[in-house]
């Protein structure tokens, strides 16, 4: 202690004070510099910049964040601000590898002497234009066609539709959505007068009963399944009912799993309706206000509906359906008596010769029990492709449709669309275009001579594939593709390199009427161009440049947005600027300050509901009432016989999407999914002396195929299952091509086959 220092009364001197203050300053400085140092110690990140985007694969349409570094995609994660709340699946997690997959097509190619050789864009496109012109000159506009996909961006499908229907003057515009959503679209349209689901994914969060039929959400729509599970974890009483001939990974998690004989489930839906009527579970006040019954021709009353259902008593249908009567009664009760029931269905219902009837009846079950228009209560058809709803159903890019819910067959609709497109009255042909299956048949018999195929792989995805592969051989096929060696590319006369996902920009519309923007974040490889650029180029070369006046994604979106105003699809409020900022919007959305519509037809939510004092209004129908149809069960043409004693049904595997053109080239996914196998019920295998790994032959009326057997107890007895993603086991060669009489969607899910151990 410094005794010479002058002490004050308190015993502390000025120097002491300075020392203390100095100490405090040093301590603060240390703290601040540590903080500064920590702020600079940024944890290792996987990307420099993050951009909101949308997953490339299924119809769930998950929002993703794309991480970029040095112009490359380095990471993709779920976007927690999007509707999927950050949840994506393993395919989405591997999106970062997608632009860089092996075998990307980088130059246009023209077939010369049977071989595809490199060409310039000009050579390829003049060849395409000339061949199209020649075909039109020789056989009229209907000798050319466009076959698109729910994977094209909205602006692309809209432009193709406009070019072919108002430019070339053929309605031969169809696409993969016919194979996927045709029955759902027709089903909704018949019931509500307008296509697209009334509810939203959000309804899963409030449902007390989730009725899943013909859908394997666990593998095909994993983020939706996660949402179902989250609901069940949070609300323990929530029931999950799964109807599927296979004990799928979804069914493994179900409270109740019903495994019907393939092709019979209209019996189940009708029997459930019968129980609901018999047990007094009808919501009669809802029916009185909002429902009309119809036998398909005439309006009938509730009594007629009940009388029609008499023959579908559970006890009467149980044996053909393959489900015990008491289980049907239990499920009907749970469906009707839950506080809120959401139904989720997809290809198992749509890809059927009774697909439209099944869709009608699923909506019907919700209407007679009043499970619609409330949080958690909705009939929801889940979509397979990312932009089938927005891009194709909404833009009307199918043979019988025109944009925004208008149809070719209606003259008033044609005049209206012609006016909106600024073309002469009578420009649009009154003849509905060919549906997918008919279109490829027409290629086979020479009626369609030239076709442009974009963003899809029909050589693998069509049923009875051999028949249509042969047809593709005969037609002048222009294929815009991302890879050199897809199944369809083999049949191309001109192969055009296409941009993919974030290599181009545009809007996609997923399964719940939500439009989301995909922005361009990188350049396509080599000379690849967006499908839109190809269409605009073709329009110019065919002399329809003036018709296609909007040529950029932004301008086309604006045109389409204005178009929608005069329809019940009104999404004028979804400006490009909003889509850039917001995480997608659900239509109707008539003005820029409108938040979008979660529940359609509901007063206070849907801006198109005009009647005051009514909670709901089905404004798509003239009498504003939804229709419940009396739909009789008709057995599938593919019922089993002695010669074909098994039912083949197809599906997907978690790690692969559609025909695996993209996912099959990503090592992590390919390794996880493995090669496709033929899954046989172990009891059947025992009887046929087939062991695990044996080579087996599957034969149907449509084709024969060999593959490796996997024995499992998951398919019910008498059912054989295979996934359709694997080109090495092209199961669609065997699958039947019967179509639904209304939707023209093929019955992929039911084919009678025989099975035997292949002779080595």
């Amino acid at each position: 202690m410094d005794t010479n220092d002058q002490k004050s009364e308190s015993g502390l001197g000025r120097r002491d004070l300075l020392k203390v203050l100095g100490g405090v300053a040093v301590a603060n400085g240390l703290g601040a510099s540590t903080w500064a140092a920590l702020e600079l110690l940024v944890p290792s990140a996987t990307a420099d910049t993050w951009h909101k985007s949308v997953c490339r694969y299924c119809g769930t349409g998950c929002g993703v964040l794309v991480g970029m570094r040095d112009g490359r995609v380095t990471d993709v994660r779920g976007d927690d601000l999007a509707h999927n709340k950050g949840v994506i699946c393993v395919k989405g997690s591997m999106l970062r590898a997608l632009p860089y997959v092996k075998g990307r097509l980088t130059t246009p190619k023209i077939r010369r002497d049977g071989r595809l050789v490199d060409a310039t864009w000009d050579e390829a496109m003049s060849h395409v234009a000339q061949t199209f012109k020649d075909a039109i000159a020789a056989g009229g506009p209907d000798s050319v066609a466009f076959y698109g996909s729910g994977q094209l961006l909205t602006e692309e499908s809209y432009t193709a539709n406009k070019l072919f229907k108002a430019g070339i003057r053929t309605n031969n515009v169809d696409g993969n959505p016919r194979l996927c959503m045709g029955s759902a679209a027709a089903g909704y349209t018949q019931v509500y007068g307008k296509d697209e689901p009334p509810g939203s994914y959000e309804d899963i969060d409030y449902a007390d009963c989730i009725f899943t039929i013909g859908a394997n959400l666990f593998e095909c729509h994993p983020p939706l399944f996660e949402r179902v599970q989250q609901r069940r974890r949070a609300s323990k009483g929530t029931r999950l009912i799964v109807v599927d001939p296979r004990r799928t990974r979804t069914a493994e998690h179900a409270d109740i799993h019903l495994a019907p004989v393939p092709g019979t489930d209209l019996l189940l839906l009708n029997a459930m309706a019968q129980v609901i009527c018999e047990e007094g579970l009808l919501d009669t006040s809802f029916i009185d206000k909002h429902v009309r019954f119809s036998d398909g021709q005439n309006t009938v009353d509730l009594a007629a509906f009940k009388a029609f259902l008499e023959k579908y008593k559970p006890e009467a249908v149980a044996s053909e359906l393959g489900i015990a009567a008491h289980q049907i009664r239990e499920v009907a009760f749970l469906f009707a008596r839950s506080r809120a029931t959401t139904s989720l269905w997809t290809m198992g219902i749509n890809q059927r010769t009774q697909g439209v009837f099944l869709n009608n009846m699923l909506n019907g079950l919700h209407l007679i029990t009043g499970h619609i228009g409330r949080p958690g209560a909705t009939p929801f058809s889940v979509t397979g492709q990312p932009n089938a709803c927005g891009g194709v159903r909404d833009t009307g890019a199918l043979g019988h449709l025109l944009p925004a819910g208008h149809v070719v067959a209606n003259e008033g609709h044609r005049r209206k669309v012609e006016q909106l497109w600024g073309v002469e009255p009578g420009t649009i042909s009154d003849k509905p275009g060919l549906d997918a299956v008919s279109l490829f048949r027409a290629m086979g018999d020479g009626r369609v001579k030239a076709a442009l195929v974009m963003c899809t792989n029909p050589a693998q995805s069509l049923p009875a594939a051999d028949r249509y592969r042969a047809a593709m051989e005969k037609c002048f096929l222009v294929v815009a593709e991302i890879v050199e060696d897809s199944e369809t590319a083999q049949f191309a006369d001109v192969l055009l390199p296409a941009a993919l996902w974030i290599e181009k920009e545009g809007v996609t519309g997923q399964g719940e009427r939500r439009y989301q923007l995909i922005e361009k974040l990188m350049d396509p490889p080599g000379q690849a161009r967006s499908d839109l650029d190809i269409l605009v180029d073709l329009a110019d070369r065919l002399g329809h440049g003036a018709l296609i006046n909007a040529r950029t994604p932004e301008d086309i979106w604006d045109e389409w947005r204005q178009f929608s105003v005069s329809s019940m699809y009104n999404f004028k409020g979804m400006t490009r600027a909003r889509l850039e900022k917001e995480r997608g919007l659900q239509w109707p959305c008539p003005s820029e300050d409108h938040p979008g519509t979660i529940r359609r037809y509901v007063a206070g939510d849907d801006p198109l509901v005009t009647t005051t004092g009514s909670a709901m209004e089905f404004y798509g129908q003239p009498d504003k009432k939804a229709v419940v149809f009396l739909r009789p069960y008709v057995p599938s043409p593919e019922h089993t016989t002695e010669e074909f004693p098994f039912y083949l049904t197809t599906g997907r595997v978690l790690e692969q999407w559609h025909t695996s053109t993209m996912t099959g080239r990503i090592e992590e996914l390919a390794r996880a999914s493995g090669d496709a196998v033929i899954e046989i019920n172990d009891q059947d295998a025992w009887k046929l002396q087939i062991a695990e790994g044996d080579s087996v032959e599957v034969r149907s009326r449509f084709g024969t195929l060999q593959g490796r057997a996997r024995l499992a107890s998951s398919p019910r007895r008498g059912v054989v299952f295979a996934t359709f993603h694997d080109t090495k086991l092209l199961i669609n060669r065997v699958v039947a091509d019967h179509v639904d009489p209304v939707s023209k969607e093929p019955e992929f899910k039911v084919t009678a086959v025989s099975l035997r151990k292949a002779v080595a």
């Binding site: 015993g11 540590t34 702020e39 949840v87 996914l669």
Partner: protein, 226 residues
């Protein structure tokens, strides 16, 4: 009484003793102390000067050392508790959600099902080993600095990316994990966190949208933590 409370009581007592000692030492003129005058403390006999020298040693060296030790223990152990995180109001949405039995976020499910028994925040947010502990604490210090200087904005976001090791340390090698083929084929990407577990397995906490002031859920999420 648990260890943490015991340590805190002890720490408080020591600090008080230290303050009293320092006050006494400050008032004492050491050069006037007699070495002959004996003081009797308990059964020991000490000269007055030895007593004050020892007291000074205790006050200046021993007590501060003990205080630092205890403070460190308090800082390094106490901050692992959920209550420590709950002290900043921006963390309230996470804590409220964690303890909400109705919530189905990953955090809430791990909490309500007792998959993690204590220190739930720290358990998932500190990486493995000494380095992980160190990093978590440095991050905590950064949070503290940001919070006290109000240099943050809501909704707060995790900087960098969540380390998968925190999931894998429990889930890896479990049959339910190993049976998933995608886990096998993506092992390397999961191990180095270049693909987040959260991609497929959902929402860990209330979303940024819910935590944004003005959102419908905000008021409920910001309720005062009990």
């Amino acid at each position: 009484m648990d260890t943490a409370t015991l340590v805190r009581v002890l720490g408080t007592v020591i600090c008080l003793v230290g303050i009293v000692l320092c006050w006494h030492i400050g008032r004492t003129r050491f050069d006037g102390l007699s070495s002959e005058k004996l003081l009797s403390v308990a059964n020991a006999h000490l000269s007055q000067s030895s007593f004050w020298k020892l007291s000074a040693f205790a006050g200046i060296v021993l007590v501060p050392l003990a205080a630092v030790g205890i403070a460190n223990y308090h800082t390094f152990e106490g901050v692992q508790e959920v209550a420590a995180c709950a002290r900043c109001h921006v963390m309230r949405p996470m804590i409220n959600d964690l303890r909400n039995p109705e919530s189905n976020t990953l955090a809430a499910r791990h909490y309500k099902n007792h998959w993690i028994v204590q220190n739930q925040c720290y358990d998932c947010h500190s990486d493995y080993g000494l380095a992980g502990n160190m990093e978590a604490k440095m991050e905590g210090f950064r949070h503290l600095a940001r919070y006290t200087t109000r240099t943050y904005s809501e909704p707060i976001e995790l900087r960098g990316r969540f380390n998968n090791d925190n999931c894998l340390k429990c889930h890896q090698d479990m049959p339910k994990f190993e049976v998933v083929k995608s886990h096998q084929s993506m092992k390397a990407l999961l191990a180095d966190s270049s693909t987040s577990c959260l991609n497929c397995h959902g929402q860990a906490h209330p979303t940024r949208a819910e935590r944004t002031p003005g959102s419908a859920d905000y008021a409920k999420l910001m309720e005062v933590v009990k």
